[in-house]
């Protein structure tokens, strides 16, 4: 099985995630799309790790999973806090921190 197939699939998944971030307005779905992109990166890491016969890439993928978990926890915390304060959950309206 050629490693290029995995890399092209990873690029396709990453592009799907980028499209989702650009397209959707709900912060929850945007977090899901960030997950898509991180997992596409993980797939590329594992593909390179296999093609080089080196396990370091797999450790890196594991650390990426930890980072993704942290990002999810903080992002969902912000979403719940915004919902409790009756702030509309729409990224176009969440502009308080901007400029």
């Amino acid at each position: 099985m050629d490693i290029t197939w995995f890399l092209v699939l990873s690029a396709l998944l990453f592009a799907t995630g980028v499209t989702g971030v650009l397209l959707r307005r709900s912060p929850l779905v945007i977090l899901l799309c960030l997950e898509l992109m991180l997992n596409a990166g993980n797939l590329a890491l594992l593909a390179f790790s296999r093609s080089l016969g080196d396990q370091d890439g797999q450790v890196l993928a594991l650390i990426v999973m930890v980072i993704a978990a942290c990002e999810v926890v903080v992002g969902l915390g912000i979403i719940v806090a915004a919902y409790r304060r009756r702030i509309p959950l729409n990224v176009d309206d969440l502009r308080t921190l901007r400029g």
């Binding site: 099985m1 899901l32 450790v59 594991l62 999973m65 719940v80």
Partner: protein, 175 residues
Amino acid sequence: MKEVAFFIGAIGALGGAIAVIALRNAFYSVLALIVHLISLAGLFLLLQGEFIAAAQIVVYAGAVMVLYVFVAAYVGNVDEPLWEPIPGQRFVAPLIGLALFVELAIAIVGSSLSSIESEGPTVELGFGSPSAIGKLLLERFLIAFEAASLLLLVAAVGAVVLAGRHRGGAEETTT
């Protein structure tokens, strides 16, 4: 045989990813992401990342997605308004995604990656097994491991502070 497994996994992963961004209901998007993650775990197995595949299912499709399901059920469905702050965003966004994919695909196919051994070398037994990964994590990557654990602790404390209920009564009204 490997090709069949790859294409089944690829169809599952890609279908899940497209369903995540296409479904209107956020709850269904979360469920589609679970399908995506499990298919991806199958692909990781094909790349001999046994431990990563197991962690993907247990940590990601299990624990993290449960968190998502709870928050999606708590917040409920968010209505996405039809007006667009950027005109034509609905049509431009997929075009940008497509352009990114074409660019990445040219970079992958056009590079000299195919000149190295495309199948990858034959690896010894136990490549990507929990014992091998654990040994690497606790010996060579010990600092990264400790930093990750510290980061998880900080994130957990931050989430509690962010989402915790304010009991003082004086809730600041930020709109």
